[in-house]
Structures are given as structure tokens and as C-alpha cells.
Symmetry: C2
Subunit: 339 residues, 2 copies
DNA sequence: ACCTGGCACTCAATCGAACCGAGTGCCAGT
DNA sequence: ACTGGCACTCGGTTCGATTGAGTGCCAGGT
């Protein structure tokens, strides 16, 4: 049903279409690739491929373009991820070397990835829940208000104002700080719920409400807050360099400003070496049905603390994008492990 | 030379053109506005306005469109900033009320502004140098490395890893922390240079190098680091809702991803009640010569700690945009003063 | 002195017919 | 099983004619 040559034809169609952005016909195919057969033969193969839904014709008298199903087959069976050139590798490492803190790492990464792939890059900040607590600090702002600062093992800093509703003596505050730190430092954020819930009971009747409000804010910061931060870059690449364009960029741009959408895009990515490719309609949002997403996780060692992805039109250079995504994810992981 | 009626004609042209996005002719003008004169008279006025460079004709047989100079006159002399509707005011305040920390305030502000004006909004995080120090914290990461955390009066938190090159005893660290805080809390960030430079000398010979490296990192964080953070939202609004478009959006999108450009856009804005309007070629970048920027400062009280702006095509609704920008800036200022 | 109605002129946008050519499907021949 | 040939389709382009919004100017009226 799908013999070797038909696959070769499909591959050639995908490659040409990605390159020229125009429907490719049988003659052009045999000219540009040495398939060793005549256009008529290719036409028969194309008819079969169309029959099976791998390619389609925009109009009767036009060439063929790959369908989502065609791209899927291409990615699954016809793609060999090509290694990056040494120049590219050097560019990546020098670009990421200079980062001074976590914010900087993420920012540099997202810009690098956008530049490398000439598409839209999306990078998630290392997630709270998968990291561990490094330190908790309490700072007096006014007589009744504190600033709670949480520092995690990935270098992320979270802050929150706490209105304790009364004035807390300095020594009590120190006590709370010490006990809170003793209880939580080194714990995984996801496991904190149980650890701190009995903390108020260990204080005197008077101080208990203060401690309780601090603890509840602390838990809020750690657990309930789902507003993961996400960096986006390269949106200008959505607009083709050439000239006019017909298809709908606006909904895509809008989608890219929605945290929720971005989170779901990145969502289910697996380990640092596994790539997830979602093509066209495979995406969870209808607005992105003309887009493909190449995503992966990253993090120190084999642990995945966050995801990153590249978003582009379904007619993207899959091998190139995939290798860039994988390479960048590995470099960032190294950097995170090193710090 | 520019009598009352000619000004009225210019105003009418600007309003119509902003509304319809199409060159406006003499007949349409007298139909839509009751100018009390005939098209022929208006034509004479238009000829005079064109002579003076306030309006122009795209082609010989088309209507007129305002030039940058025309918009400038419109903004300077023909605009009364209309107050927002109470519904809008309520929307603003409820939208901003819920903010939990500085990040959240900025994020909500930028999205609100984009939504309100249906254009691109840019908001600068409260700048470091204009705020004061609220607290400095030192946290041990490993035997030789510390995390320096700086908390400012605007609620901003800055972090930096310090490699002190040797192990510092806990009590010494406490001492450093105490003296550092004593020296800097309440100071303006821009004035810190002198205050801390003699700090190392007050420690023993042994500890001096540690203190020196901490102080130098501290100064780096405060002074040398120019990477102000900036939030952008509403880029999708660059793409007109209708259909095709010809003019160049790509360079604008690219410009909006460049920190440097954004900073210069926001740059010279004055106090919270003064608005800066830059029209077309008045902008510092050629890429933005078809865009206008409405900017202002904000901050607690009359102090300006950062700027915010709206970027849109020169054919924007100036009165509406200006009032939205001013209103939002005032609300944010209030919020900042309250916290 | 200023406004107005009338008129000839310009020119971008629109429409339609004719044409072109890339690409196809099918079939008969090797 | 592949190939060359052939009739057919149909989107894109070109070209000319037409349309109509808009202008500039002028002569006449208030």
C-alpha cells in the first residue's frame, strides 16, 4: 500500500512545499529530486497518497500540499533529526553562558530559540511545585504588614504581602521565621501542605492568629497559585518576510497572549530528551489548527522542572526545528544543573 | 490664515479619517458634520490646509488624509480629553483592585490598557533607581555562595548570587546583614554608591574581602544593571480586524521585542499628569514612523517611578487614547501609593 | 469679499473577456 | 509496471472599458 517510493514521494513533497510554500506538481518533483521515474508515475503515486489522505489539492488544477496526516507520517517515519552545526552549537553556548540569574536564563533562552528557528518560541519558568524550598524570609513592612519572600532551589523568588491584622513583636517574628524555615527548607513544594499545617499550634495563644495568616499566605503562594510565568519571543516571525498574506495571524497572536493557552501548549511535554510534536488540528485549540508545536521539557539532570516549545505554521521545517529545540533544552538543562 | 472654520474642517477630517480609515472628501464632510457651508467652500479650505501641509492627497482624485503635522495641530489645539464613562472607571478599578503583588499590578495594568484602547500597551516596571531600599537579605546557599535579595519600596525584589570565595561564619554574616541594612534602608537607590563604599573598612582584616564582594554585587544589582523590565500586551491589535492589510507590521512587532527601543519609547515621559504624544516621524525610530505613542509617567504621589505608553497607528483616536492612558496611570499611581 | 452651483477633468478601483499555463487523469503502447 | 501523449480544468494574469468619487476653477449671486 505504501511502498518505498510512495514514501519518497511524500518526503519530497513535504520538503519542497516547506521550501517554496507553494503546491508542488509532478514535474517539479522529478526535476528537483532524482527519483528515477517519470512524472506520470509520480502522478499515480500522488493519486494513491491523496486517496489515503496524506496530501491534498487546493484546487483541481494545482499541485499537491501535505495534509496534517501527511506531516504526521513525515515526522514519525521520514525524519532524521539532523545535528546542529558546530557554529550553531557555539552560538548557543556563548549566548547562554552570560546569564546572571534565572530570569536572565529564561529570557536568553527564549530569544535564542526564536532566533534559531525563526519562529515563535515559548519558555516556561521553572515551575514552583517541582522544586524545593531553599529559604523563606519575613520582612516587616509596617506595623501590621509583612512581606513574605520564598526562594526555591531553581533560584526563583516569590513574594507576597501578608496583612497579619495586628502587630507582631520582632522576637516572635524571628521565632516564626526560624521554625518555618526549619520545617520547610529542602522540602518539595508539592509536599508542603502537611508539613506546615500544625505550625500555629506550637505557638502561644496570642501569636497563633498571626502565624496562621502567615502560613496560609505561604501555602497560597506555593500551592494554589497557578500563574506560572511564561516568556514568549519571536512573534514577528509569524509574519512572512515576503509580502501579502491571507491567513489568519490575529487569532494566533491573541492566543499567544493567553497564559492558559500557552500552558496547555506546553502542558504534557515529557522528559528533556523526548520531543512532543503536535501538528495542526492535533493542537488543543481551534485557533491553532494551522500551527504546529514542537515541545519538550527541561531541567537539571533528568528531572523536568519546566517546558519549552516552538510554535510555527504546519508547513515548518520539522527536522531543523526539532533539533534546535532539543539542543537548546539540553543546554539550558546543563546550565540549571550547574548553578 | 487659519481661521476658525479651517480648524473645524481639519478637526472633521481627522475625526472622519480615524473613524473610516479612508480619505475623506468635501461632500462626505458636509454630510456628516453640519458645517453650514457648501462642499465648494470646504474644498477651498482644504486647498489652503493642504498648502500649509496639514493634510495631503494620496492620489489626485482622492480625498484628503491628515499629515503628521495635521495630527499634531489636532492634538495640540483641537482636542479636549473626554472623561471616561463611569462604567469604564469601574472596570479599571475593579480590574486593578485584585492585584496581589507588584508583578501582578504591572501585568494587570498592561492588559487593561491594551483592552481599553484596543492597541498595544507598554508598561515599565517601577524603576530601581528612583525607589528606595526597604530591606536587604543575605541567604546562605552553600559554604562559599550567598544569595543577595534586595526589596525596594515599590515592592520589587531583585536577587543575585554572590560567590564570596571563602566560607563566612554565620555570626559574621549576621553582622554584615545588620550593618548593611542599617546603612541603606530608606535610601534612594541612586544615592547608594557613596553610602556603602566604606563598609568593608569597618570589618576585621579577615572578613573584609567577603564584605567587599558582597558590597560590589550589591552595587551591581542596584546601579549598573540597566535591564529594566517591561511588559507588553495587545500586539494582536496591530492587525486590523477587517481583512487584508498592506503596510508593514513586521518591523513594528520586531521593534516591540527590543528592550532598547521600548525604553526609548517610554523614555522622556514626565509626571503622572503630563502626557507625551509623539506622532509618526516624531518617534525616535524610523520603523515606527507610521506609529504614534502616547506616554506618561506614574508612581506614588507626584513622584514618577516608571512610565507607561500606548502605541498605535498615527490614525488613532487621540482623545480616547489619551484619556485612557491618563486614567490608568492615575489608578496605578493610587494603588502604588496605597501599598 | 465671500460663498455657491456648475462643469470639465483625473485617476484608482472595479468588472469582464480573453488568454495562458501548470497540473491533472486517463489510456494505449512498450 | 512504467512511460509518453493528449484532452481537459481552472486559477491567475493581462488588458481595456467603465464607473464614480473627488478635485480645481470659474462665473454669478449675495
Amino acid at each position: 500500500m505504501l511502498d518505498e517510493r510512495k514514501l519518497a514521494v511524500l518526503r519530497a513533497i513535504v520538503e519542497d512545499y516547506v521550501h517554496t510554500q507553494e503546491p508542488v506538481g509532478s514535474k517539479a518533483l522529478v526535476d528537483r529530486h532524482n527519483l528515477g521515474v517519470s512524472p506520470a508515475t509520480v502522478r499515480n503515486d500522488m493519486a494513491a497518497l491523496e486517496e489515503d489522505g496524506y496530501i491534498a489539492q487546493p484546487h483541481t488544477s494545482a499541485g499537491r500540499i501535505p495534509t496534517d496526516k501527511g506531516y504526521r507520517l513525515f515526522v514519525d517515519r521520514l525524519t532524521t533529526i539532523k545535528p546542529l552545526s558546530t557554529a550553531e552549537r557555539r552560538a548557543i553556548s556563548t549566548f547562554l553562558e552570560g546569564a546572571v540569574d534565572l530570569d536572565d536564563v529564561v529570557n536568553r533562552t527564549v530569544r535564542l530559540l526564536a532566533q534559531l528557528t525563526r519562529q515563535v518560541a515559548v519558555v516556561q519558568y521553572p515551575s514552583l511545585s517541582r522544586s524545593t524550598v531553599r529559604h523563606v524570609e519575613l520582612v516587616t513592612l509596617s506595623s501590621t504588614r509583612l512581606l513574605l519572600v520564598l526562594i526555591t532551589s531553581t533560584g526563583r523568588v516569590e513574594q507576597r504581602v501578608v496583612d497579619v491584622g495586628g502587630s507582631v513583636a520582632d522576637e516572635v517574628l524571628g521565632d516564626i521565621r526560624a521554625r518555618l524555615n526549619a520545617a520547610v527548607v529542602g522540602m518539595k513544594l508539592s509536599d508542603l501542605q502537611d508539613v506546615v499545617s500544625d505550625l500555629p499550634e506550637r505557638f502561644t495563644e496570642d501569636d497563633r492568629p498571626y502565624v496562621a495568616s502567615i502560613v496560609s499566605t505561604f501555602l497560597e503562594t506555593v500551592v494554589e497559585r497557578p500563574d506560572e510565568r511564561i516568556a514568549v519571543s519571536g512573534t514577528a516571525n509569524l509574519i512572512p518576510l515576503g509580502q501579502e498574506f491571507h491567513y489568519s495571524i490575529r487569532p494566533v497572536l491573541e492566543a499567544l497572549e493567553e497564559q492558559v493557552v500557552l500552558l496547555r501548549l506546553l502542558g504534557e511535554a515529557t522528559g528533556p530528551s523526548r520531543l512532543t510534536v503536535r501538528i495542526g488540528h492535533e493542537n488543543p485549540y481551534a485557533e491553532l489548527s494551522t500551527a504546529s508545536v514542537v515541545a519538550t521539557g527541561y531541567g537539571p539532570g533528568d528531572e523536568t522542572v519546566a517546558n519549552l516549545a516552538v510554535v510555527g505554521p504546519t508547513r515548518m521545517d520539522y527536522p531543523g526545528t526539532m533539533s534546535a529545540v532539543r539542543a537548546v533544552a539540553r543546554y539550558v538543562s546543563q546550565i540549571l544543573a550547574g548553578e
